[in-house]
Point group: C2
Chain length 213, copies 2
């Protein structure tokens, strides 16, 4: 589920249609129960986890809390991805919380005080089900990812190579794999990143730039 | 680290050189401390986890226990992959234990009594750090993976598409990704496999059939 609206405008956003107005004709305003009904109509019993991304889903308060409660009432887990610029109390109820601060190439500035406060709250709560993810386009982004790792050493860190052309049609897997190898080689050579895990965007390797996949 | 020798002879084994005699000139008999020294010489401080595979590393007893102890004394984690045909008490000390029973396409028969006994011991010990992995080549293998999932429902299950030509030179990523999509689509359509996770062999996507990668 992608929510509409973002407090960021990352230069390379692969879902800019969630905030730049280009998809305003297909955006739908739905109540939590309507979203759940849409999911059930789409996938029937073939899922038991829902990933909520955006835009920035952390812009939403009570309505998102309600949606997460609806999922849990049906035994469905909730995963979320957010950049860590805002806190919501419903974060505590999320089964898998990915905090993905944005590196220099995005053009955005990290609010470290806010990020510290979010990571502190998650740590205090004692739930292990949160992790950090940094998308890496270049050496500067890699240095940023390292600083994130050093700042929150106990939190699992995932690195992903960025997709440098989110509009390219056709099969982009060779380009993505070449960047994956580049990132692997940086991490392999770097003793400070022994615990960082490098992962591809699996959906992009398989379904490329197709929206909705 | 690959150990030599296997009680299986899987038809599609990608490391047959560890048991078929074809690499007998480069196989080296090393003491645990010598293996550790080789790793340190190769990678210096750039690692803090070692994956032990084979062959079947579970064929080894006290020498492997000693190797794992040496790793832990240096703060290095130990991961292992084995097919679940043999138990070793040093399994309890492994930080990440992957049990990978072999499906019908391998030509091998699963010893379910042994596998049950291994999974029971791991469960009793209360460590969460073990998972199941099934390599899937065809629909029969997929049915086998489902039966494994139903038999051990609480254990994380990973599915991986098999590499159908482990000797093909050059870039095999397009072939591997096509099989990954096939497997994704089976799992997406199957409500009994909602919790199964499909992952590629990342090293093969990047380094193809190159040995030692």
């Amino acid at each position: 589920v992608r929510t509409y609206g973002c407090d960021y405008r990352c230069s390379w956003c692969d879902s800019a249609f969630t905030w730049d107005g280009s998809a305003k004709d297909i955006v739908r305003m739905l109540e939590p129960e309507e979203i759940l009904n849409e999911l059930l109509a789409l996938a029937g019993p073939n899922f038991d986890s829902v990933t909520i991304s955006g835009g920035n889903p952390a812009l939403l308060g009570s309505s998102m809390a309600e949606f997460v409660t609806l999922l849990h009432e049906r035994g469905i887990q909730a995963a979320i991805e957010t950049q860590g610029s805002r806190w919501q109390d419903w974060f505590y109820d999320i089964d898998s919380l990915t905090i993905s601060p944005k590196p220099p190439s995005s053009g955005m500035n990290t609010d470290w005080a806010m990020l510290d406060s979010i990571m502190d709250k998650l740590k205090e709560q004692g739930k292990a089900a949160h992790s950090l993810k940094v998308v890496v386009f270049d050496e500067q982004d890699y240095a940023y990812a390292k600083s994130v790792h050093q700042r929150y050493p106990g939190v699992p860190l995932y690195l992903q190579p960025g997709n440098e052309d989110v509009a390219e049609p056709g099969d982009i897997s060779a380009r993505l794999l070449s960047r994956l190898e580049w990132l692997f080689n940086l991490v392999i050579a770097d003793p400070e990143m022994n615990r960082a895990r490098v992962l591809p965007q699996l959906h992009a390797l398989i379904w490329h730039n197709k929206r909705g996949k």
